[in-house]
């Protein structure tokens, strides 16, 4: 019998509607789990106990009304964790930086508003790499989140707190953000589902900006179906974010029920890097065989060497970062620029240099042109196949301390996700096995822009044929 905190969003919704338990009981169980475990896992920067219990009581009142009132709210009564770079009104928001250690936003990010409109209970804010600068959660200026599968290892990043909170069953659902791998990579290292939507599918209003042309909020959940529930709540045009798409949001949950169409899956040979962890290669190849058994046609394809996307991403991201972090002057809120950590300073420095007079053409403009080549490369491949499948991360979770002293740690760890993020494509990590040491390995499915329905369908088919998504670390 599952404990309430171990439920998926789907199971929790069903249980709440069938009155098997209340939202108050569900929320309490999660809070107790957090109290017991989080000093070891350190997923949370802020836990909002009083408010979430109050919200749970309000949810229970609504749940006791006839179902027609509750059906629109897809996440009613469900406790979720939100990465600490989303502004939450009246709830401390730090982006894991001491610059914002006492910042209390006066407004909610659109993502937070939509979670609330969907009835979700925001149980707390999760740890991350400071300013989302990283792929380890080690650059957080507060503490390092631990990987629940091995507390001596990193959860990945920058959405490491959300990933850890989910796989440790501290919450039922979570939200993260990705600029290049920050949803997919911690999902791979923690063995759970991390869904990065198409750029512009979900509003960035109120998301503390890292790289404005790349940032993509998205669900981090226990199953792919849960990710569909969350994305359904979040997706859609927003007047406050001019880069959001006017395209209608499809019914993702209905897509899951449709019969899987015949799919051609491309496997980019350049994404199986020389010298890559052999277990990762073997496990992902095994997962591809499962896709084949499910009726998908597998075809090897060729993409631009991913090493170029590392260079492009480094320049574009750090340039946009230097601009976005210019607003932190300590005058209107927050501490002054002396509080920036080393990683933030380094990125600001490189970005400022790449944009400065005399260097702009050589670096920033060049990177933008190669970005065009990367987009064209994907267009070409997607005329031959429907989706791409590859490993998400070149390694399994690394040990705590691995990211320190490496000025390009993040960008190199994210070599397999940078190209797709530069092209604004959606991608999802699915857990697909473990290393001999018991560390999770993930595969990613990438699709053309706005192909989220296909990603959900393919991912759901894979999940139903396997049980990796049911595995949990032993935690006492």
């Amino acid at each position: 019998m599952k404990k309430l905190n171990q439920l998926t969003i789907k199971e929790a919704r069903e249980g709440l509607r069938k009155k098997k338990f209340s939202s108050l009981e569900l929320t309490r169980t999660c809070l107790e789990r957090i109290k017991r475990l989080d000093k070891k896992i350190k997923a949370f920067l802020t836990v909002s106990e009083r408010e979430s219990l109050e919200q749970a009581r309000k949810s229970d009142k609504i749940l006791n009304q006839p179902p027609v009132a509750t059906n629109r709210q897809v996440l009613l009564g469900i406790p979720v964790a939100v990465k600490d770079n989303f502004c939450t009104e009246g709830m401390r928001t730090t982006a894991a930086s001491t610059v914002l250690e006492n910042y209390f936003p006066v407004y909610d990010a659109t993502v937070v508003q939509r979670l609330k409109e969907a009835g979700a209970i925001i149980i707390g804010k999760t740890n991350m790499d400071a300013w989302a600068h990283g792929s380890s959660t080690e650059t957080s200026q507060f503490f390092t989140t631990r990987n629940p599968w091995d507390l001596g290892r990193l959860p990945g990043g920058s959405s490491g707190g959300s990933a850890a909170a989910i796989i440790a069953d501290e919450v039922i659902g979570a939200v993260g953000s990705e600029t290049a791998g920050s949803i997919r990579q911690p999902a791979a290292w923690c063995g759970m589902v991390g869904f990065k939507p198409t750029y512009g599918r979900v509003s960035r209003y109120g998301l503390i900006a890292m790289a404005s042309s790349l940032d993509s909020p998205g669900p981090m959940t226990k199953t792919i179906e849960d990710a569909a529930f969350v994305l359904q709540a979040l997706a859609g045009q927003d007047k406050m974010d001019a880069t959001t798409s006017p395209k209608e949001v499809p019914d993702y949950l209905m897509a899951l029920e449709k019969k899987l169409p015949g799919l051609k899956i491309g496997i980019p040979k350049e994404y199986f890097l020389e010298g890559m962890n052999k277990e990762v290669v073997a496990v992902v190849q095994g997962a591809i065989k499962v896709l084949e058994k499910l009726g998908m046609r597998i075809k090897e394809v060729s993409l631009l060497d991913p090493q170029y996307s590392v260079a492009v991403y480094t320049i574009l991201q750090r340039s946009e970062v230097s601009s976005n972090l210019a607003r932190y002057d300590g005058l209107r809120y927050g501490n002054d620029r002396a509080s920036f950590g080393e990683e933030a300073k380094r990125r600001i420095m490189l970005g400022t240099y790449a944009l400065s007079s005399g260097y702009y053409e050589q670096y920033y403009l060049k990177a933008q042109k190669v970005r065009t080549l990367i987009c064209q490369d994907f267009d070409r491949v997607f005329s031959q196949v429907n989706l791409l499948v590859a490993p998400t991360s070149p390694s399994v979770a690394l040990k705590v301390g691995a990211s320190l002293d490496d000025p390009m740690f993040g960008e190199i760890q994210d070599i397999l996700v940078e190209a797709s993020t530069l092209a604004g494509l959606p991608g999802v990590n699915l857990p697909c096995g473990f290393s001999k040491e018991g560390l999770p390995i993930g595969m990613q499915i990438i699709g053309p822009q706005f192909s989220e329905e296909l990603l959900f369908q393919a991912g759901h088919a894979y999940e139903q044929a396997t049980d990796w998504h049911k595995r949990r670390p032993k935690l006492t």
Binding site: Y103, F104, V106, Y107, Y199, G200, S213, K239, A242, T243, S245, P246, Q307, Y308, V310, A311, V312, T314, I315, S322, A326, D329, L331, R332, Y333, G334, R337, A338, F340, E342, K345, R346, I348, M349, L350, T352, Y353, S356, Y363, L365, K366, A367, Q368, K369, V370, R371, T372, L373, C375, P407, M408, L422, A423, G424, Q449
Partner: protein
């Protein structure tokens, strides 16, 4: 990277760096730029730059005022206020 270049960039970025940090960044920034140099291998003369991938253009709204934040809300983030304004260092004598 020369020390004076690092110092100039730090000035542009409003970051005050210690001597130790300047030295560290001299080396690290040089290393990073060397890595990035591989972009020169790709031909981009006839290629248009991409600044954003949405394909959207001219996303406008009517120039009408909407509910916004109150003055108190805006000033609530700091103690350095005076007469309903933010206090800052003088830039003119």
């Amino acid at each position: 990277m020369e020390k004076k270049v690092v110092e100039h960039v730090a000035l542009l970025a409003s970051l005050s760096l210690s001597q130790k940090e300047i030295k560290k960044f001299q080396k690290q920034l040089t290393d990073i730029l060397a890595y990035i140099g591989q972009l020169e291998e790709l031909k981009t003369q006839a290629v248009e730059p991409t600044s954003q991938v949405t394909g959207l253009k001219n996303v406008f709204r009517e120039d009408e005022s909407r509910p916004s934040l109150s003055q108190d809300e805006v000033l609530s983030g700091t103690k350095k206020v005076h007469n309903g304004m933010f206090k800052t260092k003088a830039i003119f004598e």
